[in-house]
Amino acid sequence: MIIGGGLSGLAAGIRFARFGQKVLILEKHTKAGGLNSYYFRKGRLLETGLHAITNYAPPENKHAPLNRLLRQLKIPRRSLKFRQQQTSEILFLGKAALLFSNDFSLLLSQIDEYFPESTRNFKAMIAELDRYDPFLPRPKISAREFVSSFLQDKLLVEMLFCPIMYYGGNDEHDMDLSQFVILFRSIFQEGLFRPEGTIKDLLDLLQQQYKDFAGEIEFSSGVKEVIASDGKVIGVITNKGEEIRCDYLISTVGVPETKKLFATTDSAARFSKLDAKKLSGRLSFLESIYFFEKSACKDFPLDRTIIFYNLNKKFVYQRPDDAVDLNSGVICFPGNFQEDQHDETLQMRVTHLANYELWRQARDDDDKSLYPAMKTAWTERSKKVVGKIIGNYSENIVYEDTFTPVTIERYTSRTQGAVYGCPLKLKDGRTNFDNLYIAGTDQGYLGIIGSMLSGVTVVNQHILQRI
C-alpha cells in the first residue's frame, strides 16, 4: 500500500504492479499529482509545482536518470515528446547576468566572459563534482564551504546558489553537498525540459500505465492513522473510517507528516524521536500565475525560459521576516520551450520566498478580509518588482491567480507549505519499522524525475527483494 498519489507514489505503484503484485494507492485528493498537480479556473488549466523538469537527457544516453526511470516504468522514450528549454538566466540586477541552457558549454563560456579569473577554479570544481557520488551515505557537508573553497568571487558563488536553492533548497542558507551535486547536475549539466502538453498529460500517462498493470488507486482517501505493533505496520485507517491491512507500506507524504499518523505516542517516538515541529521545513513560497494574450507580449523576453533574479549582491535564502521576500524570485515562462505549442495565451509564473507563519496568522484571523487583502497587496508589489526586470505587464493580464504557503499546505499536505520537505532526509528510505518505507521528497531525491526515481528505488531495493 502507498500513501500519496503524487509522482513518487505513482512510480512506486507502477513498479509493484508491473510484477503482478497487488497494490493500492491512497490519495487524499480528487486528483493525482501531489506537489505537481493542476486545477481548473474559468476553463483554464493551471499547473501547480511544475515550471520545468530537470534532468534532460538525449535518448541515447541510457544511464541518464531520465532514461533509466522510463525503462523502469516501462514507458517507451519515443512515446513521449520532450521540449527542451531555450535559454535561462541568473540575473543579479545591476551586477551581473549568466545565461545557461541544456548545453553546459554556454554556462562555461559565460563564466569565462564575466568571471575570467574564476574559470580555472570553476573547471576544477566541476571535475571534483563529477567524481562525487551523492547517493553514498555520509555525514552532512556544507555545499557553501565546498563551493567557496574553489571560487573566490563571492558574487559568482551567490549566483550559482540562486537557481540551486530555488529548485530544491529544503534548509535555509546552505545545503548538504550531496543535494547540491544532484541539483547542479540536474539543472546545469543535464538541463531543463517539459513534456508536451501539461502536467495533466504526464499524470494521465502514469495513471494509465499503473492501471494497465492492474494497480488500484482510491481518490478522496486520506489516511487518518497508521496502525503499528511490535515494530511492524499492520495497516491504516482511512479518513472514511475504513481499516485496510497491508504487508508493506510506503509513505510519500513526508517525514513529519508520517510521524503524525501514528496512533500511539510509542509508535510515533519509534518512528522518529524528533518533534514534528522541528522536523518541518521552514521554506515556502508565494506563487502567481499570469495569462496574457500573445499579441500583447511582443516586448516579453520570448527566448528566456526561466529568469532567476536577485536584487542585491548577496542571495538570501531563508524564511523572510515579511510575508514575502521580493529581493529574489523565479520568473518562468512555461511556453518558452523549444518547439512552440502555438498556445493562444502566454503564461508566466512568478515565485518568491514567503513566510508560512504570517500567512497562517492572516488566514486564521477573525477579520476574514485580511488574508485576501494581503494576497492582493503582495501580488501587486511583486508585479512592480518583476516589471522592472521584464517590463511592465500588469495591464495585459487576462487572468491571474496567486497561491500562498497556506494554499500549498492545504493541497499538498506538506506541513508549513514546505514543498522541499524537511531538512532531515532518509536517504535509503528505511524507517525504524520493518515494513514501512519513506519515498518522495523526504528521501532526498529532488524534482519530478528525482521523486519518481525515489519511488522506484525504494521498491527495488527494499521490497521486490523480499516478496
Partner: protein
C-alpha cells in the same frame, strides 16, 4: 525447456526491458550488462520477470551467475527443465 528456448526467453525479456537493445551482435560469453549498456536496475527486472513468468526465486547471491547469456542458460536449465 531446451537450451534454445531458454535463450529465447532471456532475449525476449531483455527486449521487453529495453526495446532498443542490440541483441543481434550479442556475444553469449560476455557480460550482458557491458554489452547492452544496462545497469543494476535493469538487471533486477530480468530477475523479476523470470519470477513473474516462471515462479523461480533467484536469491541475490546467485545474481553473478546471470552475468552472461551462457551462464544464464546454465543457471536456468535445471530450474526451467519442467517448464
Amino acid at each position: 525447456m531446451t537450451i534454445d528456448e531458454i535463450r529465447e526467453v532471456i532475449l525476449e525479456i531483455i527486449r521487453d526491458i529495453d526495446d532498443e537493445a542490440d541483441l543481434d551482435n550479442l556475444n553469449s560469453g560476455e557480460a550482458l550488462r557491458d554489452q547492452l549498456d544496462l545497469d543494476s536496475m535493469d538487471f533486477l527486472d530480468i530477475v523479476m520477470e523470470l519470477r513473474k513468468r516462471y515462479q523461480i526465486q533467484i536469491p541475490e547471491e546467485d545474481y553473478p551467475q546471470l552475468a552472461t547469456l551462457d551462464s544464464c542458460v546454465n543457471y536456468l536449465m535445471p530450474r526451467l527443465k519442467a517448464a
